[in-house]
Amino acid sequence: MSRKIDLSFQGSISRIALHRIDRARLYGSTRRIGLDGKGRECTSALLTRDGKYVMGPGSTAGMYLNKGCDVIAREDLARMDEHGQPVISNKVEPDGPHELAGPVPMEALLECAVTAVYEVDISEIDSTLAASLSRGDIYHAPNRGFLLANEYGVFLLATERVRFDFIGHDQQIVIDDDDHEYDDLGFKSM
């Protein structure tokens, strides 16, 4: 089921449905299974270290506990920064439509990493905006991402900004053994 958002462009509001595109929908996917000696498909489960309990899907729940091991509900948790100051989420959805800014240079998009791709039905877009997109213009909706078109259609790209610095000869390269970043690249292979 698709989600709908309102985009505002030059006073006109387009209500568009967002259909997420991922690798599975474009290229297919793979799933690993284990078979027992009789060729029957098995279930992945967790075994406690004492060997006492086997827990299948849905047999456990992740919870936050306080010092006294009482459960704290997620909605009651306080978010604080490293200095102990409360953190207020800046990803609050605006009440009204998302105002499109632009056209923006393509470098603005190239300086970001795409976190999600949505296809947009061009028939739902205001005709002036659709014409501008088809000419190659790119628009930016703060908190939403970039709207652009290619020969396949119109896409909304959710992004996050990635900033790199120029490197000089004397730049000290700090080697950190923490390799967890590569975990993010470890999706299931095709």
Partner: protein
């Protein structure tokens, strides 16, 4: 994260360089409403021997199961429910609920429509990025316009020098790419055309190298994409 890799330039000369991602800002720390510390734990709800499927196997029919549920609490393990699971091992469990000592691994391949296409024996796909596996220029250049409209750049890594010679090597490379005002496609593998796989069985990524210079400084960014901007078939 930082990792050493071997990179070749347009002339096929290689050098050892660092691949680095941008440091992530530390996320917010969670506390109790009064500012006390919290810790995350996996809590046992119900072990598999109390699951519905196990109970259905234990009782001959629905009536006997219903009767047992009314009379007692066979679905609840009073000792385990609510216990902190602690560190666990992942195991395979057969349809009878018994853990296996070993399982035969298979891979199911699904098409874009979600339908099963085939089953095959599991095969590992090795990483092709490392100190002994050079990344090479494919010789194919892309304008920024084309990159932005054709690919979803899902990740970016910066290439950094490991020593003074590598600095000159990378600065020249950046200057060349800047003069071409284009990004070059980077390939891996024996034929230089393979997408980059950073770890065993990882997602293959197409890579595009962008270079810029500012006086004696350089910036080399490897743009990685695992998704084209296309409409899904269904």
């Amino acid at each position: 994260m930082i990792r050493k890799v071997r990179l070749e330039d347009a002339r096929g000369r290689d050098g050892l360089v660092y691949l680095s991602s941008t440091p992530h800002a530390a996320g917010p720390v969670l506390h109790t409403p009064d500012g006390g510390p919290v810790h995350f734990e996996r809590i046992i709800k119900n072990p598999m021997d109390r699951s519905e499927s196990t109970l259905r196997r234990q009782y001959k029919n629905d009536d006997s199961l219903t009767h047992a549920l009314i009379e007692g609490d066979p679905e609840i393990d009073m000792e385990a429910a609510g216990m902190i699971a602690g560190p666990c091992d992942r195991v395979w469990v057969d349809p009878d609920g018994e853990p296996l000592y070993s399982a035969t691994m298979m891979e199911i391949v699904y098409g874009p429509d979600g339908g099963e296409k085939k089953r095959r024996a599991l095969r590992d796909i090795e990483a092709n990025v490392g100190e002994k596996m050079p990344l090479r220029w494919t010789g194919r250049f892309f304008q920024r316009e084309e990159i932005v409209r054709r690919f979803a750049i899902t990740r970016k890594l910066q290439i950094l020098h490991t020593d003074g010679l590598a600095f000159d090597f990378l600065h020249r490379m950046s200057g060349l790419l800047e003069s071409k005002d284009a990004l070059v496609s980077i390939g891996a593998g024996p034929k230089w055309r393979d997408p980059l796989i950073f770890e065993r069985n990882g997602t293959p990524h197409r890579a595009f190298l962008e270079g810029r210079t500012k006086g004696d400084e350089y910036m080399l960014i490897l743009h990685l994409s695992n998704l084209e901007l296309k409409k899904a078939a269904s």
